[in-house]
Symmetry: C2
Amino acid sequence: MTSQAADGPDTVTATRRSKITPEREREFFDAVLEQVRECGYDSVTMEGVAASTRCSKSTLYRQWKTKPQFVAAALRSARQARFTGIDTGSLADDLRGAARAAGEWSGKDTRLLQALGHAVMQDRELQQALREALVDPEIAALREILRRGVERGEVAADHPALEYVPAQMFGVLRVRPVLEGEYADPEYLVRFVEAAVLPALGLT
Amino acid sequence: MTSQAADGPDTVTATRRSKITPEREREFFDAVLEQVRECGYDSVTMEGVAASTRCSKSTLYRQWKTKPQFVAAALRSARQARFTGIDTGSLADDLRGAARAAGEWSGKDTRLLQALGHAVMQDRELQQALREALVDPEIAALREILRRGVERGEVAADHPALEYVPAQMFGVLRVRPVLEGEYADPEYLVRFVEAAVLPALGLT
DNA sequence: GTGTACCGATACGATTCAGTACCGGTACAC
DNA sequence: GTGTACCGGTACTGAATCGTATCGGTACAC
């Protein structure tokens, strides 16, 4: 359940009503996200997830009322910052680092975003879960990198290109599959940062 | 039928086996694309399209064998270059013009791309139709703009930022809804070109 | 031990939708 | 007129899939 984080030190697993251990829950979440990436949101079925994790549909429906709620829970559980902790002291190197980190997750995240991109327009909870899981943390980390660069005086606070850096990074990341048929890898993104983003910021 | 372009001067409409006029066909195509934008590819139903155009399912299935083929045909029919004919003699102005043109179509095209983004992975014909309709023409036109700029000597042929211009334009176009919750309008894209693309190309 | 609460399996009803089949009606060719 | 070929409407089959209900089994609490 979504409430189980509230009551759960380790040994208390015994006290838990549910026999679904956190590890088991992870299996469910991994399975459903993988199915979403594979087949698209609409084509994901509870039966499919149940089969692939060898549990019964009943078990899934006991824990989560509906498919959207299930997927949203899975998304929330997958939340993690891809590139926090990047802090080299140089804006250019930080951006290169972010590009590299983004490129490493590119395939999985992009497929997920792609697969959910439209479903999200119809379900508020799903939309928010997606933003919290894949969008907001990255944007925040990126803005933090930029903020530090401004603070160090590497770029003017009102530099017009600043506001577009996140959109550039994620935009290029997401459209490369469409334009070139392959996911943006770290090399591609780093070259992009060096060829376009840094020059635009005046960091040659 | 897909073959009707081959046999059709004007008056020959009489000779046509089909009573589906090109205008009527347009209605079908517009309706199905609108449904795709609205509900997503998977949720589009032949029955829905039939109802919204007041024809019968039979009629649709007589013309197109399956749903993917129907949607692909609709996409192909929607093919049109958004920004050919932009040629001001200045690379910077051409790019501004392209940005403005792209921004004007942004909502419709982005929604379509979003809605089809995943379905396309499972159906080759659909994928190709989508590329031909929404991706390739724009890319080609953009590359042509850049080529002319190079030819005029406004930017070096091997300038590293050149290769990323199309990806940036379409990337920013497509992710703005995700990041900021609204489609990229012409103003946004023109400002982006001026703040980031032109500086990166050394065209202050 | 005994009881409780959850598990997995399976079966079920309801719904939705792709695609087919059949119908009577009608516009146009000749 | 008569025939042909297509139209729109409706009904149908068959396959998924949602979500519910039922059932026997089992791990853990006490």
